[in-house]
């Protein structure tokens, strides 16, 4: 995701919100240029930040960051034409107040949503800019995402000043055996992974630090398993650099892999992701800057991310593309 400390300023987030709303108002026509530049041709509501892509039997979903309460939702029949949905908890929740400045709306960041069995779930972060006082919340929907019966399950991981991590950027991962893990973290030592209960989806074990980059920062971890030529690896996708600075953002998408979900992860050159490693899959282009906030379908076939449009005041825009896997078992660049 996200609103990273301490390199970023508050300004781009406010800018992001205003521009995103503007894009929504303008609709598909105004986004034709952005869509043309995207790996997939997209239309409709394309303003987004930290898009979490998920596909159910008949519907594609994008869950996204908002800074005006709620978990943002888009949906599509084909993955190309996107409609903005009603945010989950658009009126906010009482406990979020503990993690935002007094009198301010909650900023709900980088949701990680999907279905676990018959249950829809969304992890998300509530925090404020540059703060380590953060919480990862969980909401579930009996009957799945489309049922829309979202109920608050409260905070599942919190962080406070003095902790060695920041409780943001959650994403559910699972082992090939079906055991669930939660990936999370940002500045303050990077990305962690922690087992969660297969019943409650709440933490059930100790965290392991799996990626760190003291020079650039690393966040928005997303782990999937993928098999190539009969060999299964766990892949950690992440975002490095500065998000949220519009066209000045330096975000880039990187990847590493491991034979174990808890690491150690190394990049294609063999550099450990705990030592700043990460093979770049996408970085700034001439127009669209700072690709990051990525997520993938569970089978690794499709990736979604955002990038900032330098020709449109740095507005963050949705991108989606197929992921091509090389015979060496590494994903190829996505743009």
């Amino acid at each position: 995701m996200t609103l990273a400390f301490p390199r970023l300023t508050r300004l781009p987030r406010g800018l992001t919100r205003g521009i995103t709303r503007g894009l929504l108002a303008l609709g598909a026509a105004a986004l034709a240029t952005a869509a043309a530049a995207a790996p997939w041709t997209l239309s409709g509501s394309l303003g987004t930040h930290d898009p979490n892509i998920y596909k159910t039997s008949t519907t594609w979903w994008i869950f996204e960051t908002t800074d005006n309460n709620g978990i943002g939702v888009k949906f599509s029949n084909d993955g190309h034409a996107w409609t903005q949905g009603v945010p989950i908890f658009g009126s906010g929740l009482s406990w979020w107040q503990q993690y935002v400045a007094a009198g301010k709306p909650a900023q709900v960041w980088a949701p990680g949503c999907g279905e676990w069995g018959s249950m829809g779930y969304c992890y998300y972060a509530v925090s404020s800019f540059g703060s380590q006082k953060s919480a990862i919340g969980l909401t579930t929907s009996a009957g799945g995402i489309a049922a829309g019966k979202w109920v608050d399950q409260g905070a599942v991981i919190t962080s406070a000043p003095g902790d060695n991590f920041n409780a943001i950027d959650p994403a559910l991962a699972r082992t090939t055996g079906g055991s669930p893990y939660l990936v999370y973290g940002s500045f303050w030592n990077g990305i962690f992974i922690r087992p969660v209960s297969s019943t409650t989806l709440k933490p059930s074990g100790t965290p392991v630090n799996i990626a760190r980059d003291t020079a650039n920062g690393i966040e928005n971890g997303f782990v999937i398993s993928h098999a190539t030529n009969g060999t299964t690896w766990y892949y950690l996708f992440a975002s490095k650099g500065a998000c949220c600075k519009g066209a000045n953002s330096t975000y880039r998408i990187v990847v590493g892999r491991s034979s174990s979900i808890t690491g150690p992860y190394t990049d294609k050159s063999g550099v450990a992701m705990m030592s700043g490693g990460g093979t770049v899959l996408a970085s700034s282009g001439s127009r669209f800057k700072g690709p990051g906030g990525q997520s993938l379908l569970a089978d690794g076939s499709v990736m979604a991310w955002h990038a900032y449009d330098a020709q449109n005041n740095g507005a963050p825009v949705l991108f989606i593309n197929n992921v091509t896997w090389g015979s060496d078992g590494w994903p190829q660049a996505v743009w």
Binding site: S94, Q97, Q98, T140, A142, K149, W150, V151, V156, T200
Partner: protein, 321 residues
């Protein structure tokens, strides 16, 4: 104790806390037999009128927080709603929601979370192949007890409409519930606001609220907890966290075998040895093998309880500087 051991215990405590945070407030429970809880009960017995559980089971003396006056003059006993038969869960929940301005929303949410927990258990059973399901011996008393709870909860929750479940569980900002309002009040650690929040919590030490706060009642300083002006680290911190989970039991929250901390792990993981929250917490702290650890936890419970009952806000605050 090795760091690895501490980490494992921390994970277990975290898991128990997860159960507690999500699924508090079991049905018709009897008080846990904490050795040091007598003084707390004596303190509350001086207050008017014994709490009347709907089941008629022996109930913990009601703390002042759970006994309130209705606007119309009649008493509402929020604690009794947690002890009512599970088959009447919907009625209990709706009653609690009608009294949200008196703290009822917190209680309604706790009731609703039990139904949500059941949905999660059913989801897991649907998801997991049989080989991953826990092997349970139905002859075990703990298993039978947990299954009975599940059956009763299923009956009660099936009457609840989805909108009612959502209304109880999704508490928006500015909620009128005073207990939730004080729990959710923003307060920077060590600030005047933090002191005011703590003062408000101790002014009405509702057992359910204290259960939801758990170790969060205690101030943190880095990796340490703070109590009585001292930093509590490492293994001692784990014992203190365990005590914080038992504190509400000493203040009237019933924590016997019907406590979700007891039956939850039984249904999901086949861990059915404990018959009370006290046993569950003590087992997680290896206190069964080490009586001195059990004594240490109970001593912490008594210190916490004394500070709450006093109430002595200063004992919970970080020392200046």
């Amino acid at each position: 104790m090795s760091p690895a051991r501490v980490a494992v215990l921390a994970a277990v405590m975290g898991a128990l806390t997860g159960f507690a945070a999500g699924w508090l407030a079991g049905p018709g429970r009897e008080p846990v037999t904490l050795a040091e809880a007598g003084a707390a009960r004596a303190a509350f017995q001086a207050l008017p009128g014994p709490e009347t559980g709907a089941t008629g089971a022996s109930a913990a003396p009601a703390p002042p927080a759970a006994r309130l006056a209705l606007a119309g003059g009649g008493p509402v006993d929020l604690g009794a709603l947690l002890r009512a038969p599970l088959s009447e869960l919907r009625s209990s929940l709706l009653t609690a929601l009608r009294h949200r301005s008196e703290g009822g929303w917190l209680y309604a949410r706790a009731l609703a979370r039990q139904c949500s927990a059941l949905e999660m258990i059913a989801m897991r059973e649907q998801l997991m192949p049989a080989t991953f399901q826990p092997v349970v011996d139905m002859n075990q008393p703990g298993v039978q007890r947990a299954q009975a709870i599940r059956d009763q909860l299923s009956a009660g929750c099936s009457q609840l409409q989805p909108d009612e479940l959502r209304e109880a569980m999704n508490v928006p900002p500015g909620a009128v519930d005073p207990l939730i309002a004080v729990m959710d009040r923003p307060a920077r650690p060590g600030s005047a606001e933090a002191r005011e929040r703590l003062t408000a919590i101790l002014a009405r030490p509702d057992p359910l609220m204290l259960a939801e706060l758990g170790p969060g009642l205690l101030a943190r300083e880095g990796e340490s907890l703070v109590f009585d002006g001292k930093r509590i680290d490492g293994d001692e911190r784990l014992l203190l966290e365990g005590a914080a989970m038992l504190l509400p039991c000493s203040l009237g929250l019933v924590c016997d075998g019907r406590d979700v901390i007891v039956w939850g792990p039984c249904l999901t993981d086949g861990v059915c040895e404990a018959s009370s929250r006290e046993e569950a917490v003590m087992n997680s702290l290896q206190a069964g093998e080490h009586p001195e650890r059990r004594a240490a936890v109970l001593a912490w419970v008594e210190r916490l309880r004394a500070a709450v009952v006093a109430p002595d806000v200063g004992r919970f605050l970080r020392p200046p500087g």
